[in-house]
């Protein structure tokens, strides 16, 4: 057993400089991680360096980047938190040094079969929680010193910051792609009605707003609008599942309360932590009437020709994800020829420091029974203006044609 390089103060400063080098920041995050692993290996005179990242859903550490033993990454090594060398570091939130590497101390067979004899590893911490592990290994027996571990922890902190930044970017890109794929690219053609929509992802934490509109085989038009609690990729994924679940149940029953009830049962069973508001409306084939059930969502705004717009008088039922087996009220709303309906999410009407009725009032004043495209433009102009959207905004306007060209059976 040897202790490598009892470093002089100068050498140690050089090592710290190598790892904390500001020039590293000019690399993009993925290159930074690779360069950091190379430098870590170099300053610690180690043969391997690897980063394993914690997958929060499975509780496993997954080999993500390596210098020296790239097989770990290529084979997708997974170590459960609490088990083996890396798992102990993550579970204990503290460094571990190993003088003996074999199947009793290290789970990953690649490490001992390739002849790694000594190891040291540190937790990577971001935002107060462990997000991964950085470890180094040596093919010759040695004892990693407290000084080595300190240097390794510096590298671990730097790696944690890079990984956080990578994850945020990847999340953002994935959410944007998902939202584009989930919001219908084309609205269905409905005889006797026109539609228009707006969808604005929020500026900060993007998330789980959606709208959907589709026709049923018997000729009804279904409109769904909703908002999943939370933000980022997780909320967007749940939003996608809810949207397709609603389409599936819409084919099975024409009763809006039954559709929301089934959605709620499914969500509470398979996604017990999810919370969402949903509005669900079915327009009869002639478009004369609309049947609506709400799960904690705002009612649609309705503008009848020649009258000020108002929120449809619909009592809401419970949000999705709270109470088992609740039945939500169904309200039937007459839709006269020429009337315009607007479905929206909270981002449109909520402003900090303002009572919700102020936003709802602004919305009602901005909506008139005109073409849906013009109405969307008017609403966005009046309620959003030039402000960057703080929260997601989804808006769907549908207008029944006025006069005799109205519904198919008018």
């Amino acid at each position: 057993m040897t202790t490598v390089r009892p470093a002089s103060v100068e050498a140690r400063l050089r090592d710290i400089q190598s790892i904390t080098d500001a020039a590293l920041s000019r690399l993009d995050d993925r290159d930074l991680l690779a360069e950091l692993l190379d430098r870590t290996r170099e300053v610690l005179q180690a043969d391997t360096a690897a980063v394993l990242l914690l997958d929060f859903s499975s509780g496993q550490l997954i080999a993500t980047a390596a210098a020296g033993l790239e097989e770990e990454v290529r084979q997708g090594v997974r170590i459960p938190v609490g088990h083996g060398f890396a798992g102990r570091i993550a579970a204990g939130h503290r460094p571990v040094v190993l003088d003996r590497v074999d199947h009793t101390t290290v789970m990953n067979p690649i490490l001992w079969s390739k002849g790694i004899r000594s190891m040291a590893g540190v937790p990577m911490v971001a935002g107060g929680r462990v997000i991964g592990v950085l470890h180094v290994g040596s093919l010759t027996p040695r004892r990693f010193t407290a000084g080595d571990v300190e240097l390794l922890q510096l590298a671990g902190d730097r790696a944690a910051a890079a990984v956080q930044s990578m994850a945020a970017t990847a999340d953002r890109v994935a959410v944007d792609a998902l939202q584009r794929s989930l919001v219908p690219s084309a609205l269905p053609a409905v005889a006797g009605a026109d539609m228009a929509t707006r969808y604005i992802p929020g500026s900060g934490a993007v998330g789980g707003d959606w709208y959907d509109v589709f026709t049923l085989p018997a000729g009804q038009v279904c409109v769904t609008v909703g908002d999943v609690a939370g933000s980022g990729l997780a909320a967007a994924v749940i939003m996608g599942r809810m949207r397709s679940t609603l389409r599936a149940y819409a084919l099975e029953t024409a009763d809006p309360a039954e559709v929301l009830g089934r959605l709620d049962r499914k969500m509470q069973h398979f996604e017990p932590d999810a919370l969402a508001t949903v509005g669900y409306a079915v327009l009869e084939p002639g478009l004369d009437r609309m049947h609506v059930a709400l799960a904690g969502h705002f009612p649609p705004v309705i503008a009848r020709p020649g009258r000020p717009a108002e929120l449809a008088d619909i009592q809401s039922g419970a949000l999705i994800g709270i109470t088992p087996d609740t039945r939500r009220p169904v309200t039937t709303v007459p839709v006269p020829p020429g009337a315009l309906l607007g479905f929206f999410t909270d981002g449109l009407v909520e402003r900090p420091g303002e009572v919700i009725d102020e936003g709802l009032g602004r919305l009602c004043r901005a909506v008139t029974a005109q073409s849906p495209e013009m109405a969307c433009a008017a609403v966005m102009g009046a309620l959003v203006g030039n402000e960057p959207a703080r929260d997601d905004i989804a808006l769907l306007m549908i207008r029944r044609h006025a006069g005799r060209e109205a519904g198919a059976d008018a």
Partner: protein, 120 residues
């Protein structure tokens, strides 16, 4: 550390979270922490006194609903004190008034909380 704007007090032996004038996306995380703190103080449930609150957006509602679900699952209960029309309005719009037990005064909420019944 719970957010300083969300003190957890104790009244008649029951933890009480006092919410500020406005709850929105900027302080909902602080509310969530305070609710978790109150829930962790014992199995007897807790009260959220919203009588000072004039604005609560959906981020705040989500924090309350999450705490309500957890409080229900763990046996205790969460009770709200709602006096202002603005908060009552958002609870009505979202249907939460039929889900989370709520009261018109702190005294009533405390009486029910210490009694440990589940009605509203």
């Amino acid at each position: 550390m719970p957010d300083a704007r969300f003190p957890v007090e104790t009244a008649s032996g029951v933890p009480v979270v006092v919410t500020p004038e406005e709850i929105d996306i900027t302080n909902a995380a602080g509310l969530r922490e305070a609710l978790g703190d109150a829930a962790g103080r014992g199995p007897g449930g807790f009260v959220v006194d919203m009588s000072r609150t004039r604005f609560c957006d959906t981020a705040g509602l989500h924090a309350l609903v999450g705490a309500h679900k957890r409080a229900g699952a763990e046996g205790g209960g969460m009770r709200l004190v709602i006096t202002g029309p603005a908060v009552a309005r958002i609870f009505a719009i979202t249907g939460l008034d039929g889900v989370i037990p709520h009261f018109a005064s702190l005294g009533e909420a405390l009486a029910t909380a210490s009694g440990g019944t589940e009605s509203s």
